[in-house]
Symmetry: C2
Amino acid sequence: MLSQTVEYALRAVVYLADQSPAARTTGQIAAATKVPPAYMSKVLQGLCHAGILRSQRGIGGGMSLVHLPEELTILDVVNAVEPIGRIESCPLGLKAHGVQLCALHRRLDNALATVEEAFRNTTLAEVLADPNPSVPLCDLPGRAK
Amino acid sequence: MLSQTVEYALRAVVYLADQSPAARTTGQIAAATKVPPAYMSKVLQGLCHAGILRSQRGIGGGMSLVHLPEELTILDVVNAVEPIGRIESCPLGLKAHGVQLCALHRRLDNALATVEEAFRNTTLAEVLADPNPSVPLCDLPGRAK
DNA sequence: GTTAAAATGGATGTCAACATCCAGTTAGGG
DNA sequence: CCCTAACTGGATGTTGACATCCATTTTAAC
C-alpha cells in the first residue's frame, strides 16, 4: 500500500534525524538502512530536489536535513516522494459528481484522509523519542551511535 | 495509494450489488463502470477465483455476487484483489525487532490498520443506501436503472 | 595544483501492473 | 444438433517502479 521508495525515504530521514544535524554519506545511509546503495542515491536525490535534504559534495560532505526533526513530519517525506493522492473529484469523470463524491469514493477518500492526518501529526522527533524498546534501524536494544 | 485494479474491482462490485441478485455480463459491467472491457474481464476473473463473484457462461449468463450486499465489505473486495499488506514484522529483517515494531513502522502499521478497519466496517449495502446525492456510477442525480 | 571523497545525471536493465486480443470452451434456445 | 452468447485462459504489448552502473562535477585537504 505504501511504495518501497517511500519506505526507503522514511528510513533515510529517520537515520539522518537521529544523526542530526550532522551530515552522512549516501554509503553510510544505505548501510544503516539496509537499502541498495545505488538506489538509495536516487531516493536521496529526490529528497534533495523536494527540499527535505541538502547535499554537500566533496570530502566531509554528505546529506543532511534542511529542517529540524521537530519540524519535519512523516507526511512531508511521503509527499516529497509520492503524494498520498487524495480523491479530489469523481474518478469516472462524471460531471454530475464533480467535487461531491459518491458514497464509494467518499469512503475511500475518508480513509486516505485519516492516513494523511496521522502522517501530518507525527514529526521525526516524535518517532525518535518514542519509548518503544525497538529502536528504528538499530538491531540491538538501546541506541548505539 | 490504492491500485487502479482495486478501484476497478470496487466499481464492478458496487454495480453488481446495485443490480443484485441479477447477473450482468462483462460488457455491461465495463460500460457501467467506464473500465476497459478487456481489462475488466481479467479483474472479474480474479474476483471469481477469490469467491466474491460467480460466473455463468452462455446465453443469459454473466457475473453475480456470491454473497448478499449486506454481507460483503469493502475490505473483502480489496483483499481479494490486493491485500492491504499490514506490516507484520520488521521490514529491515532486524531480528531484535521481530513482531515488536520500531516507532516508525508501528506508526505506519497503525495507519494501515485504520484503513483496514474502515474498510471492514463498510458493507456494499451501506454504500448503496448512503443518502449522498451523488449515486455511485450514475451520472445523473437519482438512481436510474 | 593535485588528489581523493562525494554527490550528480544519464543510460540501461528487470519486472510487475495495466491493458489488449483472440482462440477455445460452456451453455441456453430454437 | 446447431447457433450464438458469454466466460476462460494464454499470448502479447506498454509503461512505470525498482535497481544498477559509470562518467562527470564539485569540494575539502594536503
